[in-house]
Assembly symmetry: C2
Homo-oligomer: 187 residues x 2
Amino acid sequence: MARWDPGAEQRLRKAALELYAEHGYDAVTVNQIAERAGLTRRSYFRYFPDKREVLFAGADRLPAAVTEAVVAVAPDVRPWPALLEAAATVGEMLVELAEDTAVRRAVIDASPELQERERTKFASVTAALRDGLEARGVPAEDAELVAQVGAAVFQNAFSRWIDGGGQRTFRSCLDSVVASLGRQLDD
Amino acid sequence: MARWDPGAEQRLRKAALELYAEHGYDAVTVNQIAERAGLTRRSYFRYFPDKREVLFAGADRLPAAVTEAVVAVAPDVRPWPALLEAAATVGEMLVELAEDTAVRRAVIDASPELQERERTKFASVTAALRDGLEARGVPAEDAELVAQVGAAVFQNAFSRWIDGGGQRTFRSCLDSVVASLGRQLDD
Protein backbone atom coordinates (compact mmCIF):
# COMPACT_ATOMS: atom_id res chain seq x y z
CA MET A 1 0.00 0.00 0.00
CA ALA A 2 1.18 3.51 -0.83
CA ARG A 3 0.10 6.71 0.86
CA TRP A 4 -3.01 6.55 2.97
CA ASP A 5 -6.02 7.72 0.94
CA PRO A 6 -9.19 6.92 2.84
CA GLY A 7 -11.59 7.86 0.07
CA ALA A 8 -9.82 6.12 -2.82
CA GLU A 9 -11.76 2.84 -2.86
CA GLN A 10 -15.08 4.63 -2.59
CA ARG A 11 -14.13 7.09 -5.37
CA LEU A 12 -13.12 4.21 -7.65
CA ARG A 13 -16.44 2.42 -7.09
CA LYS A 14 -18.39 5.59 -7.79
CA ALA A 15 -16.35 6.40 -10.91
CA ALA A 16 -16.73 2.86 -12.25
CA LEU A 17 -20.49 2.81 -11.76
CA GLU A 18 -20.88 6.20 -13.43
CA LEU A 19 -18.78 5.20 -16.43
CA TYR A 20 -20.49 1.81 -16.81
CA ALA A 21 -23.88 3.51 -16.72
CA GLU A 22 -22.77 6.12 -19.28
CA HIS A 23 -20.90 3.95 -21.79
CA GLY A 24 -21.80 0.35 -21.01
CA TYR A 25 -19.62 -2.07 -19.05
CA ASP A 26 -17.74 -3.47 -22.04
CA ALA A 27 -16.61 -0.10 -23.36
CA VAL A 28 -14.98 1.18 -20.18
CA THR A 29 -11.32 0.62 -19.24
CA VAL A 30 -9.58 0.56 -15.89
CA ASN A 31 -7.56 3.59 -17.00
CA GLN A 32 -10.74 5.60 -17.48
CA ILE A 33 -12.06 4.62 -14.06
CA ALA A 34 -8.79 5.51 -12.36
CA GLU A 35 -8.63 8.83 -14.19
CA ARG A 36 -12.14 9.85 -13.22
CA ALA A 37 -11.35 8.98 -9.60
CA GLY A 38 -8.18 11.10 -9.77
CA LEU A 39 -5.94 8.06 -9.30
CA THR A 40 -3.47 6.00 -11.29
CA ARG A 41 -4.08 2.64 -12.93
CA ARG A 42 -1.62 1.23 -10.43
CA SER A 43 -3.66 2.57 -7.52
CA TYR A 44 -6.76 0.94 -8.99
CA PHE A 45 -5.16 -2.49 -8.83
CA ARG A 46 -4.34 -1.99 -5.16
CA TYR A 47 -8.07 -2.14 -4.51
CA PHE A 48 -9.57 -4.36 -7.21
CA PRO A 49 -8.13 -7.22 -9.30
CA ASP A 50 -10.03 -6.27 -12.47
CA LYS A 51 -12.78 -4.06 -13.88
CA ARG A 52 -15.52 -6.44 -12.77
CA GLU A 53 -14.85 -6.75 -9.05
CA VAL A 54 -15.21 -3.01 -8.46
CA LEU A 55 -18.96 -3.69 -8.71
CA PHE A 56 -18.80 -6.49 -6.14
CA ALA A 57 -16.86 -4.88 -3.31
CA GLY A 58 -17.57 -6.67 -0.05
CA ALA A 59 -19.15 -9.66 -1.80
CA ASP A 60 -16.48 -11.95 -0.35
CA ARG A 61 -17.47 -10.98 3.19
CA LEU A 62 -21.21 -11.48 2.59
CA PRO A 63 -21.44 -15.30 2.96
CA ALA A 64 -19.82 -15.32 6.41
CA ALA A 65 -22.13 -12.52 7.55
CA VAL A 66 -25.15 -14.45 6.25
CA THR A 67 -24.21 -17.70 7.98
CA GLU A 68 -23.49 -15.81 11.18
CA ALA A 69 -26.89 -14.10 11.06
CA VAL A 70 -28.67 -17.47 10.67
CA VAL A 71 -26.71 -19.02 13.53
CA ALA A 72 -27.36 -15.98 15.76
CA VAL A 73 -31.15 -16.43 15.76
CA ALA A 74 -32.48 -17.87 19.05
CA PRO A 75 -32.06 -21.68 19.00
CA ASP A 76 -35.72 -22.53 19.60
CA VAL A 77 -36.86 -20.71 16.43
CA ARG A 78 -37.84 -23.09 13.61
CA PRO A 79 -35.80 -23.07 10.34
CA TRP A 80 -38.04 -20.93 8.10
CA PRO A 81 -38.77 -18.12 10.59
CA ALA A 82 -35.10 -18.22 11.65
CA LEU A 83 -34.04 -17.77 8.06
CA LEU A 84 -36.46 -14.87 7.59
CA GLU A 85 -35.18 -13.20 10.73
CA ALA A 86 -31.61 -13.54 9.47
CA ALA A 87 -32.62 -12.27 6.03
CA ALA A 88 -34.16 -9.17 7.60
CA THR A 89 -30.98 -8.52 9.61
CA VAL A 90 -28.67 -8.94 6.60
CA GLY A 91 -31.00 -7.01 4.31
CA GLU A 92 -31.24 -4.02 6.66
CA MET A 93 -27.44 -3.99 6.85
CA LEU A 94 -27.03 -4.19 3.07
CA VAL A 95 -29.45 -1.39 2.29
CA GLU A 96 -27.63 0.79 4.83
CA LEU A 97 -24.37 0.25 2.94
CA ALA A 98 -25.87 0.20 -0.54
CA GLU A 99 -25.48 3.15 -2.86
CA ASP A 100 -26.87 3.64 -6.34
CA THR A 101 -28.47 0.20 -6.25
CA ALA A 102 -30.86 0.96 -9.11
CA VAL A 103 -27.98 2.10 -11.34
CA ARG A 104 -25.91 -0.91 -10.32
CA ARG A 105 -28.76 -3.26 -11.15
CA ALA A 106 -29.25 -1.66 -14.58
CA VAL A 107 -25.53 -2.00 -15.35
CA ILE A 108 -25.54 -5.66 -14.32
CA ASP A 109 -28.73 -6.47 -16.22
CA ALA A 110 -27.10 -5.15 -19.42
CA SER A 111 -24.06 -7.46 -19.26
CA PRO A 112 -24.07 -11.28 -19.44
CA GLU A 113 -20.63 -11.33 -17.78
CA LEU A 114 -21.89 -9.30 -14.83
CA GLN A 115 -25.07 -11.33 -14.58
CA GLU A 116 -22.92 -14.44 -14.31
CA ARG A 117 -20.90 -12.84 -11.51
CA GLU A 118 -24.12 -11.80 -9.75
CA ARG A 119 -25.38 -15.39 -9.97
CA THR A 120 -22.13 -16.63 -8.42
CA LYS A 121 -22.65 -14.18 -5.58
CA PHE A 122 -26.27 -15.31 -5.20
CA ALA A 123 -25.16 -18.96 -5.12
CA SER A 124 -22.66 -18.16 -2.37
CA VAL A 125 -25.41 -16.50 -0.33
CA THR A 126 -27.66 -19.55 -0.83
CA ALA A 127 -24.83 -21.83 0.32
CA ALA A 128 -24.24 -19.57 3.33
CA LEU A 129 -27.92 -19.77 4.32
CA ARG A 130 -27.75 -23.55 3.99
CA ASP A 131 -24.60 -23.73 6.11
CA GLY A 132 -26.28 -21.61 8.77
CA LEU A 133 -29.33 -23.89 8.80
CA GLU A 134 -27.17 -27.00 8.99
CA ALA A 135 -25.29 -25.44 11.92
CA ARG A 136 -28.70 -25.12 13.60
CA GLY A 137 -29.21 -28.85 13.17
CA VAL A 138 -31.49 -28.80 10.13
CA PRO A 139 -31.03 -31.96 8.01
CA ALA A 140 -29.05 -31.35 4.79
CA GLU A 141 -31.93 -31.96 2.35
CA ASP A 142 -34.31 -29.58 4.14
CA ALA A 143 -31.54 -27.01 4.67
CA GLU A 144 -30.82 -26.93 0.93
CA LEU A 145 -34.48 -26.46 0.01
CA VAL A 146 -35.25 -23.86 2.66
CA ALA A 147 -32.06 -21.95 1.81
CA GLN A 148 -32.92 -21.83 -1.89
CA VAL A 149 -36.45 -20.64 -1.25
CA GLY A 150 -35.16 -18.18 1.34
CA ALA A 151 -32.59 -16.82 -1.12
CA ALA A 152 -35.34 -16.32 -3.72
CA VAL A 153 -37.46 -14.46 -1.16
CA PHE A 154 -34.46 -12.35 -0.16
CA GLN A 155 -33.67 -11.46 -3.77
CA ASN A 156 -37.26 -10.48 -4.49
CA ALA A 157 -37.41 -8.36 -1.34
CA PHE A 158 -34.24 -6.57 -2.40
CA SER A 159 -35.72 -5.94 -5.86
CA ARG A 160 -38.85 -4.47 -4.32
CA TRP A 161 -36.72 -2.29 -2.11
CA ILE A 162 -34.86 -0.95 -5.17
CA ASP A 163 -38.11 -0.54 -7.10
CA GLY A 164 -39.46 1.48 -4.19
CA GLY A 165 -36.53 3.87 -4.50
CA GLY A 166 -35.21 2.84 -1.09
CA GLN A 167 -38.14 4.57 0.63
CA ARG A 168 -39.53 1.42 2.29
CA THR A 169 -37.69 -0.47 5.01
CA PHE A 170 -36.13 -3.72 3.87
CA ARG A 171 -38.16 -5.57 6.47
CA SER A 172 -41.46 -4.34 5.06
CA CYS A 173 -40.38 -5.45 1.56
CA LEU A 174 -39.47 -8.86 2.98
CA ASP A 175 -42.82 -9.11 4.78
CA SER A 176 -44.73 -8.34 1.58
CA VAL A 177 -42.77 -10.95 -0.41
CA VAL A 178 -43.44 -13.56 2.28
CA ALA A 179 -47.14 -12.64 2.23
CA SER A 180 -47.23 -12.96 -1.60
CA LEU A 181 -45.52 -16.32 -1.41
CA GLY A 182 -47.99 -17.55 1.20
CA ARG A 183 -50.94 -16.52 -0.97
CA GLN A 184 -49.46 -18.16 -4.06
CA LEU A 185 -48.55 -21.44 -2.40
CA ASP A 186 -51.86 -21.76 -0.60
CA ASP A 187 -53.76 -21.68 -3.88
CA MET B 1 -21.79 -31.88 -42.34
CA ALA B 2 -19.72 -34.75 -43.60
CA ARG B 3 -20.82 -38.38 -43.86
CA TRP B 4 -23.91 -39.29 -41.91
CA ASP B 5 -22.94 -40.82 -38.57
CA PRO B 6 -26.05 -41.14 -36.43
CA GLY B 7 -24.23 -42.16 -33.23
CA ALA B 8 -21.45 -39.58 -33.34
CA GLU B 9 -22.93 -36.93 -31.07
CA GLN B 10 -23.95 -39.49 -28.50
CA ARG B 11 -20.51 -41.16 -28.58
CA LEU B 12 -18.81 -37.79 -28.07
CA ARG B 13 -21.00 -36.99 -25.07
CA LYS B 14 -20.31 -40.38 -23.53
CA ALA B 15 -16.56 -40.14 -24.19
CA ALA B 16 -16.39 -36.63 -22.72
CA LEU B 17 -18.24 -37.58 -19.56
CA GLU B 18 -16.04 -40.65 -19.04
CA LEU B 19 -12.83 -38.68 -19.53
CA TYR B 20 -13.96 -35.81 -17.30
CA ALA B 21 -14.88 -38.29 -14.57
CA GLU B 22 -11.53 -40.08 -14.92
CA HIS B 23 -9.12 -37.15 -15.21
CA GLY B 24 -11.07 -34.07 -14.15
CA TYR B 25 -12.60 -31.54 -16.51
CA ASP B 26 -9.58 -29.24 -16.71
CA ALA B 27 -7.13 -31.98 -17.71
CA VAL B 28 -9.07 -33.31 -20.71
CA THR B 29 -8.68 -32.01 -24.28
CA VAL B 30 -11.06 -32.07 -27.23
CA ASN B 31 -8.55 -34.28 -29.06
CA GLN B 32 -8.79 -36.92 -26.33
CA ILE B 33 -12.58 -36.87 -26.42
CA ALA B 34 -12.67 -37.19 -30.20
CA GLU B 35 -10.14 -40.01 -30.10
CA ARG B 36 -12.08 -42.00 -27.53
CA ALA B 37 -15.21 -41.58 -29.61
CA GLY B 38 -13.36 -42.79 -32.70
CA LEU B 39 -13.71 -39.42 -34.41
CA THR B 40 -11.52 -36.52 -35.45
CA ARG B 41 -11.13 -33.19 -33.69
CA ARG B 42 -12.79 -31.64 -36.71
CA SER B 43 -15.83 -33.90 -36.32
CA TYR B 44 -16.06 -32.86 -32.67
CA PHE B 45 -16.47 -29.22 -33.61
CA ARG B 46 -19.32 -30.09 -35.94
CA TYR B 47 -21.34 -30.98 -32.86
CA PHE B 48 -20.02 -28.78 -30.05
CA PRO B 49 -18.33 -25.36 -30.00
CA ASP B 50 -15.97 -26.21 -27.14
CA LYS B 51 -15.18 -28.76 -24.45
CA ARG B 52 -17.79 -27.37 -22.09
CA GLU B 53 -20.95 -27.50 -24.18
CA VAL B 54 -20.68 -31.26 -24.71
CA LEU B 55 -22.02 -31.52 -21.14
CA PHE B 56 -24.96 -29.21 -21.90
CA ALA B 57 -26.38 -30.72 -25.07
CA GLY B 58 -30.00 -29.72 -25.50
CA ALA B 59 -29.78 -26.97 -22.87
CA ASP B 60 -30.64 -24.35 -25.48
CA ARG B 61 -33.95 -26.09 -26.21
CA LEU B 62 -34.91 -26.44 -22.56
CA PRO B 63 -36.27 -22.91 -21.89
CA ALA B 64 -38.78 -23.06 -24.76
CA ALA B 65 -39.96 -26.50 -23.62
CA VAL B 66 -40.40 -25.20 -20.07
CA THR B 67 -42.40 -22.13 -21.11
CA GLU B 68 -44.53 -24.29 -23.39
CA ALA B 69 -45.26 -26.74 -20.57
CA VAL B 70 -46.40 -23.91 -18.28
CA VAL B 71 -48.62 -22.40 -20.96
CA ALA B 72 -50.11 -25.82 -21.79
CA VAL B 73 -51.62 -26.33 -18.33
CA ALA B 74 -55.42 -25.81 -18.27
CA PRO B 75 -56.12 -22.07 -17.98
CA ASP B 76 -58.25 -22.28 -14.83
CA VAL B 77 -55.38 -23.78 -12.79
CA ARG B 78 -53.82 -21.28 -10.36
CA PRO B 79 -50.14 -20.26 -10.84
CA TRP B 80 -48.43 -22.50 -8.25
CA PRO B 81 -50.23 -25.77 -9.10
CA ALA B 82 -49.85 -24.93 -12.80
CA LEU B 83 -46.12 -24.51 -12.32
CA LEU B 84 -45.86 -27.80 -10.44
CA GLU B 85 -47.78 -29.61 -13.15
CA ALA B 86 -45.42 -28.18 -15.78
CA ALA B 87 -42.40 -29.09 -13.64
CA ALA B 88 -43.62 -32.69 -13.43
CA THR B 89 -44.07 -32.84 -17.21
CA VAL B 90 -40.63 -31.38 -17.96
CA GLY B 91 -38.96 -33.43 -15.23
CA GLU B 92 -40.40 -36.73 -16.48
CA MET B 93 -39.16 -35.84 -19.96
CA LEU B 94 -35.68 -34.92 -18.72
CA VAL B 95 -35.18 -38.06 -16.69
CA GLU B 96 -36.23 -40.12 -19.71
CA LEU B 97 -33.47 -38.50 -21.75
CA ALA B 98 -30.93 -38.26 -18.95
CA GLU B 99 -27.97 -40.60 -18.82
CA ASP B 100 -25.25 -40.85 -16.22
CA THR B 101 -26.79 -37.99 -14.27
CA ALA B 102 -24.91 -38.83 -11.08
CA VAL B 103 -21.57 -38.84 -12.90
CA ARG B 104 -22.46 -35.62 -14.69
CA ARG B 105 -23.36 -33.93 -11.42
CA ALA B 106 -20.09 -35.05 -9.82
CA VAL B 107 -18.10 -33.67 -12.77
CA ILE B 108 -19.94 -30.34 -12.59
CA ASP B 109 -19.62 -30.06 -8.81
CA ALA B 110 -15.84 -30.39 -9.16
CA SER B 111 -15.42 -27.47 -11.58
CA PRO B 112 -16.20 -23.78 -10.87
CA GLU B 113 -16.42 -23.16 -14.63
CA LEU B 114 -19.03 -25.89 -15.06
CA GLN B 115 -20.95 -24.78 -11.98
CA GLU B 116 -21.15 -21.32 -13.52
CA ARG B 117 -22.52 -22.79 -16.74
CA GLU B 118 -25.03 -24.85 -14.77
CA ARG B 119 -26.19 -21.72 -12.96
CA THR B 120 -26.68 -19.98 -16.30
CA LYS B 121 -28.82 -22.91 -17.42
CA PHE B 122 -30.76 -22.79 -14.16
CA ALA B 123 -31.34 -19.04 -14.60
CA SER B 124 -32.68 -19.64 -18.11
CA VAL B 125 -35.12 -22.23 -16.77
CA THR B 126 -36.25 -19.80 -14.06
CA ALA B 127 -36.80 -17.10 -16.69
CA ALA B 128 -38.72 -19.60 -18.84
CA LEU B 129 -41.02 -20.49 -15.93
CA ARG B 130 -41.59 -16.78 -15.30
CA ASP B 131 -42.36 -16.16 -18.99
CA GLY B 132 -44.85 -19.03 -18.95
CA LEU B 133 -46.57 -17.63 -15.86
CA GLU B 134 -46.71 -14.15 -17.36
CA ALA B 135 -48.24 -15.64 -20.51
CA ARG B 136 -50.93 -17.08 -18.21
CA GLY B 137 -51.65 -13.55 -16.97
CA VAL B 138 -49.77 -13.70 -13.67
CA PRO B 139 -48.50 -10.21 -12.70
CA ALA B 140 -44.73 -9.79 -13.22
CA GLU B 141 -43.77 -9.50 -9.55
CA ASP B 142 -45.65 -12.65 -8.54
CA ALA B 143 -44.47 -14.51 -11.65
CA GLU B 144 -40.83 -13.81 -10.76
CA LEU B 145 -41.24 -15.01 -7.18
CA VAL B 146 -43.26 -18.13 -8.00
CA ALA B 147 -40.84 -19.01 -10.83
CA GLN B 148 -37.82 -18.75 -8.54
CA VAL B 149 -39.40 -20.86 -5.84
CA GLY B 150 -40.62 -23.32 -8.47
CA ALA B 151 -37.13 -23.58 -9.97
CA ALA B 152 -35.71 -24.31 -6.51
CA VAL B 153 -38.32 -27.03 -5.98
CA PHE B 154 -37.57 -28.47 -9.41
CA GLN B 155 -33.83 -28.52 -8.78
CA ASN B 156 -34.28 -30.23 -5.42
CA ALA B 157 -36.62 -32.82 -6.94
CA PHE B 158 -34.05 -33.55 -9.62
CA SER B 159 -31.34 -33.96 -6.96
CA ARG B 160 -33.52 -36.38 -5.03
CA TRP B 161 -34.17 -38.31 -8.21
CA ILE B 162 -30.41 -38.62 -8.83
CA ASP B 163 -29.77 -39.50 -5.17
CA GLY B 164 -32.37 -42.25 -5.50
CA GLY B 165 -30.41 -43.76 -8.37
CA GLY B 166 -33.23 -43.01 -10.80
CA GLN B 167 -35.45 -45.65 -9.17
CA ARG B 168 -38.20 -43.25 -8.11
CA THR B 169 -40.43 -41.44 -10.59
CA PHE B 170 -39.65 -37.76 -10.99
CA ARG B 171 -43.20 -36.94 -9.95
CA SER B 172 -42.85 -38.70 -6.61
CA CYS B 173 -39.59 -36.79 -5.97
CA LEU B 174 -41.37 -33.54 -6.80
CA ASP B 175 -44.28 -34.42 -4.50
CA SER B 176 -41.94 -35.13 -1.62
CA VAL B 177 -40.09 -31.82 -2.10
CA VAL B 178 -43.39 -29.92 -2.20
CA ALA B 179 -44.48 -31.72 0.98
CA SER B 180 -41.18 -30.82 2.68
CA LEU B 181 -41.55 -27.21 1.65
CA GLY B 182 -45.12 -27.08 2.96
CA ARG B 183 -44.00 -28.46 6.34
CA GLN B 184 -41.09 -26.01 6.58
CA LEU B 185 -43.06 -22.91 5.60
CA ASP B 186 -45.98 -23.73 7.88
CA ASP B 187 -43.74 -23.71 10.91
